[in-house]
């Protein structure tokens, strides 16, 4: 009997219908998950993200890579080519060894990060660059010079935010505090902010 009365009230006052309308109203007021991607907004991936390779330098500006070719050995897809050479410092041993050629085929690469693990000097690290599209096959091979340029996203920046695309596109290094951040997943109780 109570059920019947409940059903009648629900039907007469269109309660289910109003409930549905409220759900869509909630979504209307919630934030859009679409990004104005290439030209206005860009997503900065999390720190763990494995994207395009980068070669790093030490504080003096000397390349960290000593062309030991361990990354070549570790690579499961043979996408890295390293040719070592001695530089003009005249020091013997490993100190004057640098890579003459260090190139990676980004089409073959499966972004496993083994080269990163194998590297004894932490010279090669996978950055957070994911915009690898190109119009011909030459663009898929990254040379040493290109790999040595610095990524616009600081290495230890937490990531997981949406920023204005111009910061990334114009390669302006800006302190993370100044970025207009838009938290991707709003923090909910029970889910910690730190991932």
């Amino acid at each position: 009997m109570v059920d019947i009365i409940k059903t009648v009230i629900t039907r007469v006052l269109f309660l289910d219908f109003i409930k549905g309308l409220l759900v869509t109203l909630k979504y209307t007021l919630s934030r859009s998950i679409t990004l104005k991607y290439p030209d206005h907004e860009t997503w900065i991936p999390y720190e763990r993200f494995r994207g395009e390779h980068k070669l790093h330098r030490n504080e003096d500006g000397r390349e960290l890579c000593v062309a030991c070719e361990l990354c070549v050995a570790a690579c499961p897809t043979d996408c890295i080519t390293v040719v070592p050479m001695e530089d003009e410092t005249g020091r013997r041993g490993i100190n004057d060894r640098v890579a003459k050629v260090w190139e990676v085929n980004l089409v073959r690469c499966l972004y496993c990060g083994y080269c990163e693990d194998a590297c004894p000097t932490t010279a090669v690290r996978l950055s957070r660059g994911f915009e690898l599209a190109c119009t011909d096959l030459d663009g898929t091979i990254r040379e040493r010079e290109a790999l040595l340029t610095e990524s616009p996203i600081p290495e230890h920046y937490e990531g997981g935010v949406v920023v204005k695309a111009k910061y990334i596109r114009k390669l302006i290094q800006i302190k993370p505090e100044l970025w207009k951040q838009k938290d991707w997943w709003p923090a909910k109780p029970g889910r910690s902010k730190k991932r």
Binding site: F17, G20, L21, T24, Y27, T28, R31, S32, I33, T34
Partner: protein, 364 residues
């Protein structure tokens, strides 16, 4: 040679027709933008945002696209009716606005000339509205039939059956409005509801809300909007009656659809929400300075928003459910409601304000 006064009257009339017609022709431009933006928000997308600021120029871009697209008439179509159908769909809906009052008479300052904010005040206004809005279905029928396509044909047939079914309930609801307001003229219907929202027909308890719901549902069905957009059901009929239309003819059909939506919103406001009436009466003195046309437009806008909101909230009804609602629920309900309204009108013709006054509560 007619006198100068006659010429002025005719000129003012023509001006009003031009303004209303122009406004209705342009109405779909902002409405499509709002609808797509709202659709985006509800689905957590952005909606159009590339063309112009916030995508505001998107409808213009669409219009240019519509103008320059190829106008295709199918080879085996009945080309005369095919070309006539968009006009048949559009003209009656524009004609509804002939009797719609947008506001009370205004006096133009300096020359002291009184202008009424409606084109004509027919003494059979409400029947005229129902009769003319019924004609709009011919655009769909002829368009569907003349396309010589089975989907279009089925769309046309569905719209016919749907219109016939809901026209009855809608007319009954209009009868209810006439009973509550005691006049067939739309201007009198509005003036009978003046004096705050408690006097509106929607709050003519206990029958007012029911009439409102019946008219709302029947109106949704009449203008082929979700949840009753059977004639253009994408799932089962491709695009229904306008599947063969392209370019400008398609633009006219969708223009007709948008104007139909505006017309139903306008009728709901005039019949149930007191037209241009200020909702709070003179409770808040400052609201008296708001022009009545603003209230009218505000209410119409709210209804249009509601229709769009509805469109992206609930799914489409099945065809048999549509017919069941029309014949087995709406019509018996409205018949019973006519009886109830008549009884109330004879034995206890009151509005809420009257009751409040009786217990000594005078709001305004």
């Amino acid at each position: 040679m007619p006198s100068i006064d006659t010429l002025i009257v005719v000129g003012v009339m023509l001006l009003k027709v031009l303004i209303i017609g122009g406004a209705l022709f342009c109405a779909p431009l902002p409405l499509t933008w709002i609808e797509r933006k709202l659709a985006g928000r509800i689905q957590q997308r952005l909606g159009p945002h590339r063309v112009g600021p916030f995508g505001l120029l998107q409808p213009l871009a669409d219009m240019i696209k519509m103008f320059v697209k190829e106008d295709i008439v199918p080879a085996k179509a009945d080309s005369f009716l095919f070309k006539l159908a968009p006009i048949l769909a559009m003209a009656p809906i524009f004609a509804i606005f002939v009797v719609v009052p947008f506001g009370p008479d205004i006096t133009i300052p300096f020359i002291d000339y009184k202008v009424s904010l409606y084109i004509t005040d027919m003494n059979v206004g409400i029947i005229f509205v129902l009769a003319i809005s019924g004609l709009a279905v011919y655009g769909l029928i002829f368009g569907g039939w003349a396309s010589n396509s089975k989907y279009a044909m089925l769309g046309g047939m569905r719209s016919t059956a749907q219109m016939i079914s809901y026209e009855v309930a809608m007319s009954f609801a209009a009868v209810g409005v006439v009973m509550m307001s005691g006049s067939l003229s739309l201007v009198d219907i509005v003036t009978s509801q003046s004096g705050g929202f408690l006097n509106w027909n929607i709050l003519y308890l206990p029958v007012g809300p029911l009439w409102f719901v019946i008219f709302l549902i029947a109106g949704l069905a009449e203008m082929n909007r979700i949840p009753f957009d059977m004639p253009e059901d994408e799932g089962s009929l491709a695009a229904g009656y306008h599947v063969e239309y392209s370019a400008m003819r398609f633009a006219f059909l969708s223009l007709a659809e948008y104007v139909a939506m505006v017309s139903i919103a306008v009728l709901l406001v005039v019949f149930f929400l007191g037209g241009w009436d200020n909702p709070l009466g003179s409770l808040i003195p400052i609201l008296d300075y708001v022009p009545p046309v603003f209230w009218f437009m505000g209410k119409v806008g709210a209804f249009i928003y509601f229709f769009m909101w509805l469109r992206f909230t609930i799914p489409r009804y099945r065809y048999d459910q549509l017919m069941t609602i029309g014949w087995k629920i709406m019509i018996p309900l409205s018949l019973a409601n006519i009886l109830a309204t008549g009884m109330i009108k004879i034995y206890a013709d009151y509005r809420i304000t009257d009751v409040l006054e009786m217990v000594g509560l005078k709001l305004w």
